[in-house]
């Protein structure tokens, strides 16, 4: 299936060519060519990704191996099911929006050719890890994504905060990856293979043992660093605070979601409830993550840091959904991944527009700014209402699904804690709306103007999506349901890969 490699191939080729194109355009004194080129690349990759939908519908799991003689247990290969496809579509879409937004937002920075190159390669890495069929491919693409995201966090290297946050992120994330690598070596020692399906097949009937628990814990630690589950969340507020806002949107919207994707694969494909009972572990993890994230967000003075802490809270909801071990819970979790990517991405992009105009991130300096920037403030309000879970916005749908699934699974305490947390989070979202949009502007803020057009287009598109999927969630719900069923039915996946 050659179609499978096109999205990654297009993104990587565009990413590698971006610096050359930008330099050439600079000679001809054309502006923003790098950004337009990146946008074009994302668009083509999105089309290439959408073309996969028909073959996927026919076959269920698509395979790609290098050469016809190479068979899955030997070679590194790609295997795409609905789960990976769902995530890849999300990654490319957010990359597209982020690159469009960067056209104006990043225009004052230098080194833009590297910026777009890194952005394209980061999305290529994410798509690759969503498509990977074995741990070798997964690890390589995971590291491509991680490396480029370190560089993007530290992109404004003339500022001390970017460097500090970047190093913190690198140290924690690289440690997590190394721990994952160590547990992979143990998995290889037990099963003799690194392909997801073959590992799953050989662990299918395995009785619980301390060795499996150890491997499982190591894998979970490694992936939780990326997910920013609570004992490992320290890098996230810093990195989100100092990165350019378009990158914060990417980090919060999709990079943390790669950890969720890896966790879903680990929990539901490689291990299962009978081998390792993860319900209690993940329940505790999710409660910690939700509570700490929301409490931290209440204390923040910096708008971006506040949104970053609320990302930790939302990761808690998704982990709650994963802990249930049911299809309904998984559907809610995957739908929340999608919705959170859109609404948190929108929130970060709006904040970016405000920072672009005013140059400040402090809430006290920004009082009343919304009155001077009507479009930004309306879209920001939509994203915040959506994040707090108001009906008719998309955040409500997925939160509702998660909590009803939790009730179905008889996790009453978890549901109550989740709902309390959701209530707590409304406090800071509404405070933000009240301070930024309802107060009267004064001083410097009274003179600001609306952001430029290329910043506003992505905001309007994403706000429209927030409302659209809030009032008409059916298509994306069906899609998420399909992905959840694909993640849950591991026997079909194993058969599809091993029969080749």
């Amino acid at each position: 299936m050659l179609l499978l490699i096109y999205p990654m191939l297009i993104l990587s080729v565009f990413g590698i060519l971006t610096p050359i194109i930008s330099r050439l355009a600079e000679r001809l004194s054309l502006k923003n060519i790098g950004g337009a080129w990146a946008f074009f690349g994302f668009l083509i990759a999105l089309i290439a990704d959408i073309r996969l939908i028909n073959p996927l519908r026919r076959e269920g799991v698509l395979l790609f191996t290098i050469g016809s003689s190479a068979k899955p247990p030997i070679a590194g290969f790609l295997a795409v099911d609905w789960l990976g496809y769902f995530f890849s579509l999300l990654f490319i879409t957010l990359g597209l929006i982020s690159s469009l937004y960067s056209l104006d937002y990043m225009s004052h920075d230098n080194g833009l050719e590297e910026y777009y190159s890194l952005l394209l390669l980061m999305v290529a890495g994410m798509v690759g890890l969503a498509f990977a069929g074995d741990f070798i491919t997964f690890y390589v693409f995971w590291e491509i994504m991680s490396l480029t995201s370190y560089c993007l966090v530290g992109f404004r290297r003339h500022k001390w905060e970017a460097i500090e946050a970047g190093f913190k992120y690198l140290a924690m994330s690289a440690t997590g990856t190394t721990i994952v690598l160590f547990s992979l070596s143990l998995i290889y020692g037990i099963t003799g293979t690194l392909s997801f399906a073959h590992i799953a097949a050989s662990l299918l009937k395995a009785p619980p043992s301390p060795l499996f628990s150890m491997i499982f814990i190591l894998l979970i630690i490694g992936f939780c660093v990326k997910t920013a589950a609570v004992p490992f969340h320290f890098w996230l507020p810093d990195a989100h605070q100092v990165a350019p806002s378009s990158i914060s949107a990417m980090l919060s919207g999709v990079v943390t979601k790669t950890g969720i994707y890896a966790l879903i694969r680990t929990l539901y494909l490689i291990f299962s409830l009978s081998t390792v009972n993860f319900t209690l572990l993940f329940a505790v993890l999710s409660v910690l993550t939700m509570t700490v994230g929301n409490v931290l967000a209440l204390l923040q003075k910096d708008v971006k840091r506040l949104l970053a802490c609320s990302t930790i809270g939302h990761m808690g909801y998704i982990l709650l959904a994963l802990s249930l071990g049911t299809v309904n819970g998984l559907t809610g979790g995957i739908l929340h991944v999608f919705n959170h990517a859109i609404m948190k991405g929108l929130a970060f992009l709006c904040i970016g527009a405000i920072i672009y105009v005013t140059g400040s991130r402090n809430i006290d300096d920004l009082i009343g700014v919304g009155r001077r920037m009507p479009i930004t403030s309306i879209t920001f309000a939509i994203s915040l209402l959506s994040l707090s879970g108001v009906p008719f916005f998309n955040g409500f749908i997925s939160k509702y699904l998660i909590f009803t699934a939790a009730l179905e699974a008889k996790a009453y305490l978890l549901t109550v804690i989740g709902l309390l947390n959701s209530g707590l989070s409304v406090v800071y979202y509404l405070r933000l709306i009240q301070l930024l949009m309802l107060r009267k502007p004064s001083g410097k803020i009274a003179k600001v103007k609306e952001a430029p057009i290329f910043i506003l287009i992505p905001l309007i598109v994403m706000a429209f999506l927030c409302i659209l999927f809030g009032v008409w969630p059916e298509p994306v719900y069906k899609f998420a349901r399909e992905a959840a069923i694909a993640a849950y039915s591991k026997v079909q996946y194993i058969l599809a890969v091993t029969k080749v």
């Binding site: 030997i74 070798i136 590291e143 370190y150 460097i163 690198l170 440690t175 190394t178 070596s185 507020p237």
Partner: protein, 105 residues
């Protein structure tokens, strides 16, 4: 499965422990990166060990390939880490990780 298998597993566990210890205790950022490298070599050693000793008389190329890939990929990470360290030195005039904590909460 021979005696060597367990010797190498034990030494890779020791390497992992040394790396984690270094990450927790050391103050110098370069030493942190070195600890990361030690942890990586624990994983790589494990791969090579399992590939050679898992089944007697057979060497699995898959794990060797993965070991080489992991080493080269990790070299890139170390490169990025060192650029960060150089930039940290430019801004803070120190490599002490405990001084590099102006971002709080």
């Amino acid at each position: 499965m021979g005696f060597e298998l367990y010797v190498f597993i034990a030494s890779s566990a020791v390497l992992l422990a040394i790396g984690l210890y270094g990450l927790m205790v050391k103050r110098n950022m370069v030493k942190l990166v070195m600890s990361l490298e030690i942890m990586l070599s624990a994983a790589t050693l494990n791969f090579v060990n399992f590939a050679s000793h898992r089944i007697v008389g057979m060497i699995d190329p898959l794990a060797h390939v993965f070991a080489i890939i992991a080493i080269s990929v990790e070299a890139c990470v170390i490169g990025v880490a060192l650029t960060f360290i150089i930039n940290v030195y430019r801004h803070y005039k120190t490599l002490d990780i405990r001084k590099v904590k102006r971002l709080r909460w």
